[in-house]
């Protein structure tokens, strides 16, 4: 009886055993599938995924485009984020205000509005014709504001006592950054930054609005041809999960690894 109880219940201090994890996970997955199945039955839809093989090359290309968009945006948003976080601490007021207005504007408006604004007004005016490049620029500017806040937050969270100790042991400014500030910032920045990468992957789907042929746009186009709307979007979800789940797992790992902070 006790061991059966252990398969379903857990106290605060305990960690779940692998059997309990596996069984409960399976149970939850079955529950979800049943929920979908009942709902689909209710609207009398029969799922048929057989068409996927026929479009596999296009789907694969879309998948790679999404991955490329996300990785390029991650890298450039990191650069924007770092510059912006540094700019917000600048003693030159113009730079400081420029950065903080940028962060507030981007975080305060929806991505879809920014996509239209940048692509049709700014992009056209500056001659950005390539949709992939435009997508990367828009997504980087959008995510850069969030990355800036992550970096700024972790910089602010470094205690004065650590900098004081760095001075007391005789570190130069550069050494204090190299041996104290940056390693501690990396520890605090990496887990949320990985989480942000998952957001970038999902947000890139909105670039389908300006016809960047990434994963979502590919599936939209396929569903427009064969009207297999449910299958297309269900499979789209699975593909996004293939990208975001590993990223979330890495983020959780990093969080545990750097747990010494607390």
């Amino acid at each position: 009886m006790k061991s059966l109880r252990k398969l379903f219940w857990i106290s605060e201090k305990e960690q779940a055993g692998w059997a309990a994890v596996l069984m409960n996970m399976l149970f939850v997955v079955i529950l979800w599938i049943m929920l979908f199945w009942i709902s689909l039955n209710a609207i009398q839809v029969r799922l048929d995924f057989s068409f996927l093989g026929q479009f596999r090359l296009r789907i694969w290309n879309g998948f790679l485009t999404t991955l490329g968009l996300s990785l390029s945006s991650l890298l450039s948003s990191l650069v924007i984020g770092m510059l912006c976080a540094a700019g917000q601490g600048s003693s030159l007021l113009v730079i400081r205000y420029f950065c903080s207005i940028y962060v507030k504007f981007i975080r305060g408006t929806p991505l879809i509005m920014q996509i239209y604004l940048f692509f049709y007004i700014v992009g056209t005016a500056w001659g950005v014709e390539n949709r992939f490049a435009a997508g990367v620029i828009i997504l980087s500017i959008f995510e850069g504001a969030y990355v800036a806040e992550i970096i700024r937050g972790s910089l602010l969270s470094i205690e004065g006592s650590q900098l004081e100790a760095a001075r007391a042991v005789g570190f130069t400014r550069r050494q204090a950054w190299r041996y104290v500030v940056l390693p501690q910032m990396a520890a605090r920045t990496l887990p949320p930054l990985t989480g942000q990468f998952a957001s970038i992957i999902k947000d890139s789907s909105l670039l389908s609005m300006i016809a960047v042929i990434e994963l979502t746009q590919t599936m939209r186009e396929i569903s427009a041809v064969n009207f297999r709307l449910f299958e297309c979007y269900l499979f789209l979800g699975v593909l996004y999960l293939c990208l975001t789940l590993p990223v979330s797992l890495i983020s959780e790992r990093l969080e545990r690894k750097f747990h010494y902070e607390n």
């Binding site: 205690e159 006592s161 650590q162 004081e164 100790a165 760095a166 001075r167 007391a168 042991v169 005789g170 570190f171 130069t172 050494q175 041996y179 104290v180 390693p183 501690q184 520890a187 010494y260 902070e261 607390n262």
Partner: protein, 245 residues
């Protein structure tokens, strides 16, 4: 070590004086700075340690002026050891790295030399088995022992301790004070800001009473404790002894 200053003072940015103009000149071997909280003790210690610039006055150490320029302050700080009340260890480094990295990067030791010396000091302070632990995994007393090991590793000319036991439980306080006493017996000069009156009285040869930003009394510590001259010190000591056994 000869420490001298004239007209030394410190004001915060809001204009509030923390340390009123103070003069001092003496050879320092084991000096305790005592006094009520907010009296300017830590500020004075930080000025002597080259961590805070005074608002007015000049500080001479061993006959040399301590320049306020960052480059010369850096050189000066490298000759000293500093122990903070708490949080002075680098949180992301283990005990060994906390000692070895400054030795390597600041004092030019090779990696092997630095690690060897760090290990030697950790063993000496009873932390041989804890070298791999990060500060958060060590008790408060252990953390302060590592901090002292780091401060003395590069053989400083003067050790400065800012309330090193204030955040500790009584049993850890003793182990930290024992170490400082031991280092004193080996000839290391130190200045300690402390509320441990027994230590100030018996382990330090001089004591300075700082109150309301003024150096009110200075002299042999036996004398200071046995025959306080000012009413403020009498009252301060009286308060501390109120609950003593």
């Amino acid at each position: 070590m000869k420490i001298e200053f004239q007209n030394l003072s410190k004001q915060f940015e809001d204009g509030k004086p923390v340390l009123k103009p103070t003069d001092f000149s003496d050879d320092v071997h084991a000096l305790a700075i005592i006094g009520p909280s907010g009296g300017g003790k830590s500020t004075l210690l930080r000025i002597i340690g080259g961590l805070t610039a005074p608002t007015t006055g000049v500080l001479h150490v061993d006959g040399e002026v301590v320049d306020a320029k960052e480059a010369s302050l850096l050189r000066y700080r490298r000759k000293l050891g500093f122990v903070f009340q708490q949080g002075g260890l680098f949180r992301h480094m283990n005990a060994m790295a906390n000692i070895a990295v400054p030795l390597e990067q600041v004092h030019g030791y090779s990696h092997e030399e630095a690690c060897g010396l760090a290990m030697e000091l950790l063993a000496r302070f009873g932390l041989k088995d804890d070298w791999k632990k990060k500060p958060a995994e060590l008790s408060g007393g252990q953390q302060q022992r590592v901090a002292i090991a780091r401060a003395v590793a590069a053989k400083p000319k003067l050790l400065l301790l800012d309330e090193p036991t204030s955040a500790l439980d009584p049993e850890y306080t003793t182990e930290v004070l024992d170490i400082i006493h031991e280092l004193k017996n080996e000839g290391l000069d130190f200045i300690i800001v402390t509320h441990e009156m027994g230590f100030a009285r018996h382990a330090c040869d001089k004591a300075a009473f700082l109150c309301e930003g003024t150096l009110m009394e200075y002299g042999e510590s036996g004398q200071i404790f046995a025959q306080p001259k000012t009413e403020k010190l009498r009252r301060f000591l009286g308060k501390l002894l109120e609950w003593n056994m």
